[in-house]
Amino acid sequence: MRLGSGAFAACCVVIEVLGVALFLRGFFPAPVRSSSRAEQRAEPAAPEPSAGASSNWTKLPPPLFKKVVIMLIDGLRDDFVFGSKGVKFMPYTTYLVEKGASHSFVAEAKLPTVTMPRIKALMTGSLPGFIDVVRNLNSPELLEDNVITQAKAAGKRIIFYGDETWVKLFPKHFVEYDGTTSFFVSDYTEVDDNVTRHLDKVLKRGDWDVLILHYLGLDHIGHVSGPSSPLIGHKLREMDSILMKIHTSLLSEERETLVPNLLVLCGDHGMSETGGHGASSMEELNTALILISSAFERKPGDIRRPKHVQQTDLAATLAIGLGLPIPGNSVGSLLFPTVEGRPVREQLRFLHLNAVQLSKLLQENVPSYEKAGTRSGDGLFLNGSLPAHTAAVFPSQVLSLLLLSIPEALSNKAELEVPLWSPVFSLLFYLTLLVLSALHVIVCTSAESSCYFCGLSWLTAGGVMVLVSALLCAVVSALAKTFGDGKFLSKNSAHPKPRWSELDVLILLGTMGHVLSLGASSFIEEEHQTWYFLINTLCLALCHEIYRNCLLRDDSEPQQCPHVEEEFIRTAAALQDRSTGCDTLEPHGVSRSLTSLDTLRGYEKWMVLASPWVILTCCRLLRSLNQTGVQWAHRPDLGHWLTRGVIEARFVHVFVLGILFTGTKDLLKSQVIATDVTIKTVGLWEIYSGLVLLAALLFRPHNLPVLVFSLLIQTIMTKFIWKPLRHDAAEITIMHYWFGQAFFYFQGNSNNIATVDISAGFVGLDTYIEVPAVFLTAFATFAGPVLWASHLVSFLSSETSSGSALSHACFCYALICSFPVSAYIILVTSLRYHLFIWSVFSPKLLYEGMHILITAAICVFFTAMDQTNTKS
C-alpha cells in the first residue's frame, strides 16, 4: 500500500500517543491513601471493643501533654547528637539522652531527603507520592490530613518560626509566624538568629499550645563547608544552648501547672559526607529524634539506646500526644516508649487507635494492591517497573520506523511503500506474539510478582501485544529494505552526496544535544535555557549565512568565483525546480518567489541584514519577561496581574469561533470543489489568526508581548529570511519547531507542573466545566508550539507550490517531536531509581506525553491539508 509520507507520519504519531499513554498509566501507580478524608472529622474515633469493658470510650483520649515544642534542625543527622560530636558540642542534650527524662531514636527518613517532602512526611505520616503533585495542581498548600490541620481544628494555638516552606504548606494554620528564606545558603547565622530572637518573648508568654522552630543554619553550613567543618561544632553548641533554654522554661512552667510538656528535637534529613543531601546514603537517611518530657521518668541506671524507627512514626505519636485523631494517610506506628508511663489500659487504647487507623488505610488500598502489597515506602515503582519496560518499546519502535523511512519520505515524491500486510503474515509476527502471550500468562499466573497487563482487560492486553509485534516486524522489514537498498545504492552511487550546510549541522547537533540533555535533572529544570541557547545560535547561524550571501555576492572578486558559481548553480537549479510548479500560483506569487538576495535593493536589503538582530533582541526581551526554571527563578520579572471580564471574554470566544468556522468552511470548500488553491490558503490563514486571537485572550496580560513578538518574529522570518534564502521544507519545519519550543518557555512555562496556568481554563466561564476548561488550559499552555505549527502549515501551503512540501514538513515535524519523547521514555525507564524521579523527571514526562498528543493532532491536521493538496 502506498502512503503519503505525511499520512504515514501521522499514523506513526497516533500509535506513539497510544504507547505513551500506556507507559504513563503504568508509570504512575495509584498512591496509598485513605479515601475518606473529607468525612474523617465528623466520624467518631474508633470505638473500643466492648469485650469486658466497663468504660465505653467513644471519644479520643485526652492529650498527654499540655504544650509541645518541636525543634526541627535542618540536616541534623544522628551522629551529631549521639556520636562523638554530640558529646563534645551538645553537653546538655547528651546529658538528657543519657540520664534525663527522654527517649531518643534514630529516625530513618525516606527518599527524597529534601526538606519539603520531609516536612510533609513528619506532619502527615505518609509518603508523598508523585500523584499528589498532580492532584494539588498549582497549590503548594498541603491538603492532606495532617497533624497541624488537626491541631488547628481542635483549637490549638500554633506558633511557627523558621523555614518559609512551612508557611507555604500551612498558610492559615499559625496564629503567629515568621518565615526565613533558605535561599542564601552562605548565611548560617542570620537565619537562625531570626528564629531565636522571638524565643524569649514567646516562652514567657505561654499563650500557645504548639511551638514549631525550624533552624536552617546547620544545613547551610553543611552545604557550604561539609559536615566536618569546625563551624558545625559552633552551631551545635548554639543549638544545645537553645534547647537548654526551652527545656528549662518548659520545666519551670510545669512546676506551676503540673501537666507535662513535650519537647521534640528532630532533624528532617541527614547530611552526606560532602555536606549535601537528597540522595539515599545512610548519613542522609538517619536523623536524630529525641522526645523530652518529664513524663518519661527513668530510674537511675536505666540505659536507653537510641532505637531505629521510621520518620513517619512521629506524626502518629504527636497526634496521640496532643489528643488528636491520627492523620488518615499516616503509615507510621506510635512510638511506644512515649506512652509506657501511662496505665496499661490507656496504652492499649492508644495502640488500638493506631491499629484501627492503619487497618482502615490498608483496607481501602487492598483492592488495587492485591499483589503488590502495602509495605510502607517500598518506593514508587512497586508495580511500575514492568510496564516501563514493555511500553517503552512502543515509541522507540515508532521512532526507528520513522528514522528508517527518512530517505524515502523526503524524496521528491514524498510517498512511500508501507508494507502493511506482509508483516502481519510473516513468521516473525506470530513468533513474537506467541512469546509475548506466553510471558503474559506466566507472569500473571505466578503468585508473587504482578504484571501490569493483569490490570488491563484481556482484549486490551491482546491488542497491545499484536501492535507491538506488528511494529517489530515493520521495523525489521524496513531495516532489511534499507540495507538492501543501501547496498544497491552504494554500488551505483555516481552522484555525490549533497553537502550539509552549517545550518543543517547545527540543527542536527542541537536536536541531538537537547535529547541528550534530558538525562540530567538540572537540564530538565532549566530546559528553557537550552532552547533559548539553541534559537540564539540558530539566529546567529542564519545571520552568518545572510551576511555571507549578501556581502560576498555584492562584489564577487575573482578568487571567490568558484564559490559564487556554485551558489549560482544552486540558485538556478532551485529556480528551475520552482518554475516547474509555478504555474498554479497566481502571478504576483511568481514574481515574489523570484525575488532573492540579488534583486533585493535599498531598504529591503537592510531589513534582511538587520532581521536576525531584531529577532535576537526580541528573544532577549522575552526571556526576561518570565523567569522560569529553578536556579534563576528569583530574578525579577514583570508582575502578574489578572483582570478579566467574563462578558468580554465571551464576545471574543464568539469571534474566535466565527473566524475558525469561516476558516474551516473555506477549507471544506476547497476540499469539495478542489480547484482553487487560494481559498484553501485563505482558510488556513483564517484559522491561524483565529488561534492567535484565542491565545491573546487566554494569555495573562503581561504575557501579551510574547504573542506580539511571536507574530513579529514570524513575519520577519518569513519575509526576510526564509523567502530570500530559500530554505527547504525540512529546515523550515525544524526552525519552526525550535521557535515553538522556545516560545513555550517564553510564556513562562517550565517543566514543573506548578507553572501551568489553570486560570486560562476559566476564561469566559462562570463555573468549572471540564471539557472547555481542559481544552483552554491545554491550548494556553502549548500556545507557542501550536501557533508556530499552524503558522508553518499556512506558510508552506501559501508559499511553496510543490505538493510534497507539506508532507515533508509533516514527516519532519512528527520525527523531530517523537525523537525526544522516545529517547526520554527510555531515559526515564533507566533512571527510575533516580533521586529526582518524581520531582523533576515525572512532570517532564507528563509534559512530553501532552506534547506528543498535541503533535499528533497537528500531524493529523497537516495530513488533512496535504490530502486536499494532492486532490487539487
Binding site: 533559548y532 541557547f533 560576498l552 578568487q559
Partner: protein
C-alpha cells in the same frame, strides 16, 4: 616550502600556548592569593595581555603575508589605530552577543566585558594580525572554500574552535553541582581558552595530514 611553513606555524602556535601557560604560572610569584578561579578577572586581564603581546611579536617576526607594499609611517599608524578600534568594537560586539544569549544586563558587567575581551583576544587579534582591518577578507576566510594560505586555514580553525569552546563552556552553568567554576563567566572563559588551545594544537596537525589535498590559490 610547505613543510617549512607548517613547521613555522607549529612553532608560533606552541609559543601562543606557552604564553597562556605562563599567564597561569608566572603571576602567582608576584601576586598574593592568585588563582584562576578566585582572582579570575586578574587572570583574564593577564592572559589577554600576554596572548595579544605574543601574537603581535610573532606577527612582526614571522610576517606571514609579506605583501604590504606601502610602508609609510602614517599608513602604519592609521592601520594600527584602525586595528585598535576594530578590537574595541569586537569586544562590544561580543558583549552584546553575550547579553543576547542571556548574560545579565546590569549586574556582572565587568565580568561579561572581560569575557568579551578574552574572546576577542583569541579570535579578533589573530584576525587583525593576519588579515588587517578588512571585513571583506574576514568574511572570505570564514566562508567555505575561502582560505588562501595555511595561515588563514589555521586562523579559521583556531577561531572556530575558540567559539565552539565558548559555546560548549556555557553548558555546565545550569547544572546544580555548585562548583566554583560554574559561576558566570568562568566556565565560558575556560571553555574559550581550552577551545583556543585545542585549535592551536589541532590546526598544524590537521594541515599536516591534509597537506596533499590542500591547494591554495595564491593571489
Amino acid at each position: 616550502m610547505k613543510d617549512t611553513d607548517i613547521k613555522r606555524l607549529l612553532y608560533t602556535h606552541l609559543l601562543c600556548i606557552f604564553s597562556i601557560i605562563l599567564s597561569i604560572c608566572i603571576p602567582s610569584f608576584f601576586l598574593e592569593n592568585f588563582s584562576i578561579l578566585e582572582t579570575h578577572l586578574t587572570w583574564l586581564c593577564i592572559c589577554s595581555v600576554s596572548v595579544t603581546a605574543v601574537n603581535l611579536v610573532l606577527y612582526l617576526i614571522v610576517k606571514p603575508n609579506a605583501s604590504s607594499k606601502r610602508s609609510s609611517i602614517s599608513y602604519k599608524v592609521t592601520r594600527f589605530l584602525k586595528c585598535c578600534i576594530y578590537f574595541l568594537m569586537s569586544c562590544f560586539f561580543f558583549h552584546v552577543i553575550f547579553v543576547l544569549y542571556g548574560a545579565p544586563l546590569i549586574e556582572l558587567v565587568l565580568e561579561t566585558f572581560l569575557f568579551a575581551v578574552i574572546l576577542s583576544t583569541f579570535t579578533t587579534v589573530p584576525c587583525l594580525c593576519l588579515l588587517g582591518p578588512n571585513i571583506k577578507a574576514w568574511l572570505r576566510v570564514f566562508s567555505r572554500n575561502g582560505v588562501t594560505s595555511i595561515w588563514e586555514n589555521s586562523l579559521q580553525i583556531t577561531t572556530i574552535s575558540s567559539f565552539i569552546g565558548t559555546w560548549l563552556g556555557a553548558f555546565p552553568i545550569p547544572l546544580d553541582w555548585e562548583r566554583p567554576w560554574q559561576v558566570w563567566p568562568i566556565s565560558c572563559t575556560l571553555g574559550a581558552t581550552f577551545g583556543y588551545v585545542a585549535g592551536l594544537v589541532i590546526s598544524p596537525l590537521w594541515i599536516y595530514w591534509n597537506r596533499k589535498q590542500l591547494t591554495y590559490k595564491n593571489n
